[in-house]
Each structure stands twice: as C-alpha cells, then as structure tokens.
C-alpha cells in the first residue's frame, strides 16, 4: 500500500521520532514546518531510513494562505493520505498575563491553524476513502490549570475538533486518533522543574503507531496518564479552584 504522511510541526522531537518510525515502514513523508534547513536534514535522514519519499514543505500555522499548495502537493501522491499534527506553542502563562495578545498566536498554533489545514484536507481524504489523522492534543486540555490554561484551552478546543473530525471521516473509511501526551522529554520540557515519569519521544511515537494500527480513538501516552487525568478531572471544582498543581 502506497502511504504518505504529512507531518505538521516536523521539527519537534516527537514528530521527528514519528517521521522516522513511519519511514522505516517505507511510507512517504512530507515534513512541514518553518525551519527549512532543519527539515532538509530530517528529510535526508528519513530517506536513509527507508522512506519512499521525504520532502521538506514550508508550513506556518499562522499563514493559512500557504495551505492550499501543501494540499496540492499531497494530492500528487497516489494511495493513502495521512496527516499527523504536532504543532502548538506554549508561552509561559506569566508572559501571557503580561501581554494578553499572546493568546491569539497560541490558539492559532495549537488549534485553529492546524484545524483549518485539516478542514481543507478532509475532502481529499474522503475522496480517497481512507487514511488517518493523528492529532496531538495534551493532558493540559483536560482541565484548566493555573500554570497553563491558555495553552490548555487551545488544546481542549483542538481535541474537541478532532472528535468531530473523527465522526466525519469515519463515515468515509478514514480515522482520527487523538493523542494526549503527558510529560515528554523534548526541548519544551528540558530543564523544567517538577517533571516526573518523563517519556522519550520514541516511546510516544511507538504508542501513536500502535494506536493508528488498532484504530484507537483517544490515547494517553504513556498510558498511565489516563488514570492521572481521571483523578484530576474528578477533583470537585470547589477544591480544585484552590489547588496549585
């Protein structure tokens, strides 16, 4: 089967691990992001690991006028089309408190930008009658917390969007996997205090691949975050609102 993945936000370490994993299986990868030099290095790496094709593609969540060209590039590939979304930005909550206009960029990067892209891609996937969308949301979207509620709200919006998209694509033979990673060892979490049970990007990529194969709907990675979040979600608001976690 001829498979192609568009990977949005391909310079992140989770995306890199995922791109390598699907390359090893011979899929084609279109690596989308802003740092073209870095993407070119990753594309070479994916080719040497077995990708059918690997190309860098310019993508900026905040510049939707570039999206149509990417969709066109995808259309040129025969067979199954898939998308994996790793984009998102998380300014410190304190920075947002000082400059509320940062909310717009956070929401665009983490939710509306990729949603708009997927909205443009959906008809093509429906026409091909299959394919999978992997959307990376976050445990931060399960409940608003003092530390990062703007980022959390954007990811919650994205998760809700993915749930609706799943409803839509399933009808056409496609599938959507929502991924909620806990703490992952990335540049974003490097050196942050209070990290525990940190997963490697490779482990997350492995979990995502498994979820794609088994057509899982919503996964937490590593799995135990489902239970951690279950507890956090069930703390009564009366208590939660006074907590600092």
């Amino acid at each position: 089967m001829n498979r192609t993945w568009i990977i949005l936000g391909a310079t992140s370490s989770m995306a890199r691990a995922f791109a390598r994993a699907v390359s090893q299986e011979g899929a084609g990868v279109l690596l989308a992001g802003r740092d073209s030099e870095d993407l070119a290095a990753l594309a070479a790496d994916c080719r040497l690991r077995g990708a059918r094709i690997a190309e860098a593609v310019a993508f900026d969540a905040r510049r939707p006028d570039g999206f149509a060209a990417i969709i066109q590039r995808m259309e040129a590939e025969e067979g199954e089309l898939n998308a994996a979304v790793f984009v998102g930005s998380m300014p410190e909550q304190a920075a947002i408190d000082a400059d509320p206009s940062l909310i717009d960029g956070t929401v665009t990067d983490s939710f509306t930008g990729p949603a708009r892209f997927l909205q443009m891609l959906a008809p093509l996937m429906e026409a091909r009658g299959g394919g999978t969308v992997v959307g990376v949301a976050s445990v931060a979207g399960d409940r608003g917390r003092l530390g990062n509620y703007v980022y959390g709200a954007a990811k919650a919006g994205f998760a809700t969007y993915l749930s609706g998209l799943r409803n839509r694509l399933t009808r056409a033979g496609g599938h959507v996997v929502t991924v909620k990673p806990g703490f992952v060892d990335t540049a974003m979490t490097w050196g942050l205090p209070g990290m525990f049970l940190v997963a490697t990007p490779e482990k997350v990529a492995e979990d995502i691949q498994k979820a794609v194969r088994k057509k899982r709907n919503v996964i937490y990675t590593p799995f135990f975050w489902r239970y951690i979040m279950l507890i956090i979600i069930h703390i009564p608001e009366l208590i939660f609102k006074k907590m600092k976690i």
């Binding site: 870095d38 290095a41 690991r49 540049a187 490097w190």
Partner: protein, 437 residues
Amino acid sequence: MLWKSADYSGWGRVLQAKGEIARPERQAALAALLDDGLLPAMGMRRSYGDAALNSDGRAVDMTRLDRMLGFDPETGILDVEAGARIGEIAAAFGPKGWLPAVMPGTGFATVGGCIGQDVHGKNHHHAGSFCEHVVSLTLRTAKGVVEVTPEKTPALFRATAGGLGQTGVILSARLRLLPCKGDVMVVTERRMADWEEFIAHLDTSRATYTVGWIDATAKGAALGRGVLEEGETGSGLMPQRIKRRKVPLDAPNFALSSPIVRMFNGAYYRRVPEKGRTVVRPISDFFFPLDKIHDWNRLYGKRGFHQFQCVVPLDQAPALRDMLGEIAGSGLASPLAVIKRMGPGRAGYLSFPMEGYTLAVDFPDRAAARELIKHMQARATEVGGRIYFAKDSLARPEEIPAMYPELDLWRKEVTKADPEGRLATDLVRRLKLRVAK
C-alpha cells in the same frame, strides 16, 4: 528552557558532576549557543569515567543532533550528525549491505564520542581504529566552523581523533562504511582452556571479527581460560528481537560478590560445548551484547564501578598474564572481562590502540579494587603499554606522558583550536592533559 541543572556521571557512576547542560535539537540552536563561547560536548556518556563531565561548568549534549544527512552508494560514504548513535547507523545500513567500519561494544555510543575516543572494535586487527575511516569532519573551533580532513589539515585531524573533544565541537562527520554480506552474524565460539591456548588462538585467528571473553576469577592451571568468539557477517533472516530489559533498581552490593561471580563465570564458560559451536545471531547481539539490558550499570549498585583497560606491546603478553593472575587472586573482578589482539591502527596523537594485547576488566568500586587498578596502571606503563581514557577514572597525571608520547603535539594543536581553554573537562583537568609540564 535552554539550561538544565543536572547531577550527572559517566557510565561507571563513580565520578560525578554537577552543572548546566543544554541539549539543542537543531543545528541553528547549537550554533547560537556556541556563539557565546565554546562548550565541551558530550555524547551518550558511555565513557566510564570523567571524559564527558564538566563539574561546575556548562556542557552541550549532542544526542538530539542525530540525523543521517546523505549516503553515496558508489563510495560508501555516509554524512552524519555527530549525535547519531552507531547502533542506529548499523540498523539502518546493515540490511542494505553496509556497516560502520568500526563499532565499539555499545551501539549507544555516538559518532562524536567514537571520534573523541578514536574507538576500536572487534575487527581492530584488520580495520584499525574508528577515525581511520573518517573522511572528513566539520568542527566548530574558537575560529569558527572548519572542515577537517586527514590530508588537508593533518595536525588538527590527529589532535581531534581521540582528542577528547578538546579541539572543538564536532558537528558532523563523513564516515566510510564497510560493505558487509548482510545483517546477521555467523559466530564460532570455542572454549580456551588457559592463557597459552588463548594467546595462541588470538595470534592465529583469521576471522574478520575476533574477541575473547576471559574468566577473570579462574586461577592456577585455569588462569586465562575463557571463550574465543570469531564472527563473519552473513545474509539471511533473523527475527529482530526488540524486547529490551531494564534494570529498575540499583542492585545490592552482594550481587557481584566473589562466589556469585565465580559461579556465573563457570556456567558461562560451560555454556559453550567442549568442542565449540557455530551459531547465527543478529548483528546487534554480537556487537552490542549488553545493550539489550538498559542501564545495566545499575547492577553494580549505587557505589558504581570501574573498568580497567590497558594495552601492552606484543612481546609483553607475559606481563599481561601476571596482571590477570593478580586480578584472579584478588577475587574482586566482575564477570565482564575481555581480551583482544590489536593491530597497529590509530588515527590520533592520543589514540589508545597500539599493536599488542588489550585486557579490559570491570570492578565494583571498592578501596581494594582502586588500589589494584592503580597498581596495574603503573605496570602497564612500565612495560610500554597504556591505559584507555574512555575507561579511566583513577590514573595519575605523571603517568600520562610516558603512555602517550605524542602528548605535546596534541597540546600544541589544542591550544590553537581552543586558546581560552573553554573545552576542558574533568578528565582533562584531573590528568593535567592540557597543562604543559
């Protein structure tokens, strides 16, 4: 965040450091970091001692700059970022009929780390050292990014190969891979009854890959007994076992006590039938036997451990046998003990290899073991041998010039490449490598 405050150590966990570490994921981020001044680089910190430590200072972790950038099947030359792991390269290229020409005993070692220690593999007697297969490398020195090759910049190349990261940060390298038949190994294992038989077989082995496991607890007539392994690459199908095991906790101290090690070694020796056997293994099992168990260094418990590795000239085999006798008599060794015959191949001023025999033995960290290791280091020096910086945490500065006669040539190049001494590591300071006498 850019900087992580960390307590960290080398593989042996005896020597520790506290400092700030950055781990850039893109070349642009690394370049920006080094614009503020050079920093010592570290790979996977598989060096046992303090080669990759910088106490109370800063360092840059290269492991996320790990991409393969290009390969030319005509020449077999692979262009690769310095943080890429050897095992990953082998896994990607073995099935296509290519392997890194030299592979150390762990696939977790990075290209940068293999250059920094000019590592050797089980084929050293044929293939020489790692850096003899480095066609060129890009190095960030105090003067900026330079292309270093053995032909155009021989002195800088020789100072960088095995140069412990002191000439600059290696960004990427072009490696000449070696053609292989496929990614399985045909391995012949034979019992060696004693030292004489072992040396005789090491001397006459014609195999591409040759290594010996030695029972460092066997005494008397059995002194030097072990298992000789000879391997050739082959083609075929071998189910790739990906199950890795982890060591979840630091083991208690008695885990490697002398009766247990003796029992284990006896069983390990007899595992191979008396008449020997030939088996087929995945390449990773042959080259990186310990990588299947993640964090196996925790088996030594919290106190950590040392590896003593020396090489002595060919005519000093009896001295090596005497050292082994002392080790066996002490009852301090762990099951991990390896013997190899080395060829003359070395690429740098401070490269470890010399034509002769090399012995490597692990010891849990105890006062008696430290004393024994220091004593053997002195012995190795006396007989014209040397110890390996990748394994050392106990050597003394005054021993080094005799072991490494090209030290002053190295110093000269290092001073040019890093005049401010920003790249110094704990090992370099401990052994006063950069300070002239």
